[in-house]
């Protein structure tokens, strides 16, 4: 009797004639997720099996698979001989001792002497005999014992479904450049886009020496967490120190963030085009902070010329974002108290509804092109 992990996929089913392409991408991602763990990868119609792995790796495998987009559900199954006695012995491991239940059977091997209804009925009877507190309820059972007769003379016996990450395999939907700050929102925004199949590269702005190594390490760690979902990522960093200093020196204090964000978007778009990313991704949520009002968003959006800016969190409440951050495992890292560049030179009262005319007037005091060119000189790529 061996343990086997069943992987079922979801939305790929819908993808008509492209299914082969999607499946190959999904398989590549699954295999990449299990790198370093000895196992056998078996492809079946509409599902995959992970076999021949060490018992102690079970949890690790499940944890990793749960992070692969495209996985609908997982099941931990036992593989046994397909005779009724073996199936019964195995089913006792899966079955609870009390409550209501039913048995669901499925024959992959149609030569099997019993029909699925017969298997269910017979196994149900045997389990009732073994556990006297059990009751059958075929409509609304507390749990289900599932039997799958395979074509190789074996049967898979399992109980519950473990919910996967759902979504689509990463790689299906192009590539985006995520503006990764170090806060709670941006890793979640990256997660959301990866969930729809997008590859994600990250861009982080720092203002060393006003920010420190710890702040950078935190961002590297966040990129690392995100990369578990995005099948790898590249992290780029750019220094905006001089830009902040120039704004501080020449422009109105309350426009610091607004002007800085315009620089960030310009730099991000240029980097995205260089790295063949097809859009920018940000963690903006409407009204969350002064720079994320519709006026603030408009002002930063207006400098992006060629690419769309995707804002998957725009309609989310902070609590909803936090829930997702916790779920993806980034929250603990996101709340580490290291400054990112936005808190240096922070005005006491940032402009909540900056007017585009004011912004342009202030910006005209700066050498925008020169500052951007200088910022690009600080571009670094960090391997994740």
């Amino acid at each position: 009797m061996n343990k086997v992990i069943i992987i079922r996929y979801a939305e790929i089913w819908l993808k008509g004639k492209n299914r082969g392409y999607f499946e190959r991408m999904f398989e590549t991602n699954l295999k990449a997720a299990l790198k370093g763990i000895d196992h056998k990868f078996v492809k079946q119609c509409g599902r995959y099996l992970i076999e021949e792995f060490a018992e102690y790796e079970t949890e690790e495998i499940v944890e990793r698979l749960k992070k692969v987009f495209g996985v609908h559900t997982l099941s931990l199954a036992y593989e046994t001989d397909a005779d009724m006695n073996s199936i019964f012995e195995t089913a006792k491991l899966v079955c609870k001792e009390e409550g209501t239940f039913k048995v669901e059977s499925h024959r992959g091997d149609k030569r099997y002497p019993k029909t699925s209804v017969e298997i269910s009925r017979e196994l149900g009877g045997m389990l009732l005999g073994a556990f006297y507190k059990l009751k059958v309820d075929v409509h609304n059972p507390d749990f289900i014992v599932r039997v799958d007769i395979r074509e190789n003379g074996k049967a898979l016996v399992f109980g519950e479904f473990i919910e996967g990450a759902n979504g689509m395999p990463v790689g299906m939907a192009g590539k985006g450049l995520l503006l990764l700050s170090g806060g709670i929102d941006s890793p979640v925004a990256g997660y959301m886009m990866a969930k729809r199949g997008m590859r994600v590269d990250c861009l982080h702005f720092h203002s060393y020496p006003y920010t420190n190594e710890q702040a950078k390490e935190k961002v590297v760690e966040l990129a690392n967490i995100l990369s578990q979902y995005t099948c790898g990522t590249n992290l780029y960093t750019v220094s905006v120190t001089h830009i902040q200093e120039s704004i501080h020196e020449h422009c109105k204090a309350e426009l610091m963030i607004t002007l800085l964000r315009r620089f960030m978007y310009r730099i991000a778009e240029r980097l995205a085009l260089r790295k063949s990313a097809q859009c920018l991704i940000t963690g903006e949520s409407l009204g969350q902070v002064a720079s994320q009002t519709i006026e603030g968003v408009t002002s930063s959006n207006s400098v992006v010329e060629k690419l769309p800016v995707l804002r998957p969190l725009i309609g989310f409440d902070k609590n909803e974002i936090i829930d997702r951050s916790v779920k993806m495992g980034a929250y603990e890292t996101s709340i580490l108290p290291f400054e990112d560049c936005c808190t240096v030179f922070l005005p006491d009262f940032p402009a909540i509804k900056p007017k585009l005319s004011d912004i342009l007037a202030e910006e005209s005091k700066l050498d925008v092109e020169g500052l951007i060119k200088e910022a690009f000189e600080s571009l670094e790529k960090i391997e994740i």
Binding site: P209, Y210, T211, N212, H248, P337, T343
Partner: protein
């Protein structure tokens, strides 16, 4: 790179390292073993114990227990002796004692009491004594403060505490004093924590010096090493290297003190008074000079100096979490938050050269002026 963060850690003394190397290579045995090669190490440990102790205390009255660091020594003292009633310490302690005292309250062991500091960073003696009463089980006063270099007269304080309550156990964290400040323990001091890596030893080696007749409860239990007071296989290499480094330190302590004193004064004199104000008292440890660049952020200056080839320490962490942003010790000295934000700690070693002092001060002036201009 000019290294002026010697209060954080010192460069391990190479000569001691080479001399102790045989305890890594040939004499690697477990000192608790009964075969000849293992057992022979016991006498080596004894020699180390004696050399490390004799530098600060009489071997007739005190003994020394090896630990893994200064923090462990402090914790063993606090949790070994703070009992029902209350325990008294100062607002100028290293976190190893300060956090342990807060933990006393969390665990419901006893009431921690914190005596205020004077402006120079040393404890207000009268206030400390007024906190000590007949229910005080334990008193801990740092010898040399790690942020300001302020020195507490622990011998006098220990005597005064014992006069008020002879049963109170008196401990001092001597990590920044040991091997640096000429001094000998009086019998009223019950416990004294020291650490190797502040005087050319290695990280991971510390000791708790204790009055001989005091029964020290074990903090780490197990195989019964250190007479049952601190279990765990002895770090023979680290201990021997500590011994050799300390012997050298004690031999040159007075000369080192004078040299470092002149460094501190030269350094401060070279600093731009328009930017930096002095927080360290004149009569403090010459090894530590704490200054504040008011209105500027210490950590930013630290990074800028770092880029120019100078390593110094800071008193505050660059953190948007305002609770931990400012050094509690600097605030306890009565300085405001703006001052606390701009603290830099420059700490010297006898191995520092005069050119490094000159160049280091120059770099701090340069980055201070640069940042002041940028933040204008």
């Amino acid at each position: 790179m000019i290294y002026l963060d010697n209060a954080a850690t010192t460069k391990p003394d190479e000569e001691s390292f080479l001399k102790a190397r045989e305890f890594l290579t040939e004499k690697f045995y477990n000192p608790s073993a009964v075969y000849r090669e293992g057992h022979a190490l016991q006498s080596e440990l004894k020699k180390a114990r004696s050399a490390l102790l004799s530098g600060v205390a009489s071997e007739a009255d005190f003994e020394l227990v090896f630990t893994s660091c200064g923090t462990e020594s402090d914790n063993q003292a606090v949790f070994g002796f703070a009992r029902r009633g209350n325990a008294v310490t100062t607002a100028g302690e290293h976190s190893a004692v300060a956090t342990a005292f807060l933990e006393l309250k969390n665990r419901g062991i006893c009431e921690p009491r914190f005596a205020p500091l004077k402006k120079d960073g040393s404890v207000d003696e009268q206030a400390l004594l007024s906190l000590v009463d007949e229910k005080t089980s334990f008193v801990s006063v740092i010898h040399v403060n790690n942020e300001t270099g302020s020195v507490n007269d622990i011998n006098a304080l220990a005597k005064a505490v014992k006069k008020k309550n002879p049963r109170a156990i008196f401990h001092s964290d001597g990590v920044q004093a040991y091997g640096k400040i000429p001094f000998r323990l009086v019998k009223e001091v019950d416990l004294y924590s020291v650490s190797a890596h502040k005087i050319g030893g290695l990280k991971g080696v510390g000791a708790l010096i204790k009055r001989k007749t005091l029964v020290l409860p074990a903090y780490i239990i197990g195989g019964g090493q250190e007479n049952g007071r601190r279990s765990g296989t002895e770090n023979t290499f680290g201990i021997k290297q500590f011994e050799y480094a300390a012997i050298k330190k004690f031999a040159s302590m007075k000369a080192d003190y004078e040299r470092v004193l002149s460094y501190r004064e030269t350094f401060f004199k070279s600093l731009d008074r328009g930017i930096y104000t002095r927080l360290s008292p004149e009569n403090g440890s010459p090894y530590i000079l704490s200054v504040a660049a008011k209105g500027l952020r210490g950590e930013v200056l630290l990074h800028m100096a770092n880029d120019k080839g100078l390593i110094v320490g800071t008193g505050s962490a660059c953190s948007s979490n305002s609770k931990n942003r400012y050094s509690r010790v600097i605030l306890a000295c009565g300085h405001d938050e703006q001052t606390a934000d701009g603290v830099l700690r420059i700490s010297f070693s006898p191995e520092t050269t005069e050119e490094e002092i000159e160049k280091g001060a120059e770099i701090l002036n340069e980055v201070g002026r640069d940042l002041a201009r940028r933040m204008k």
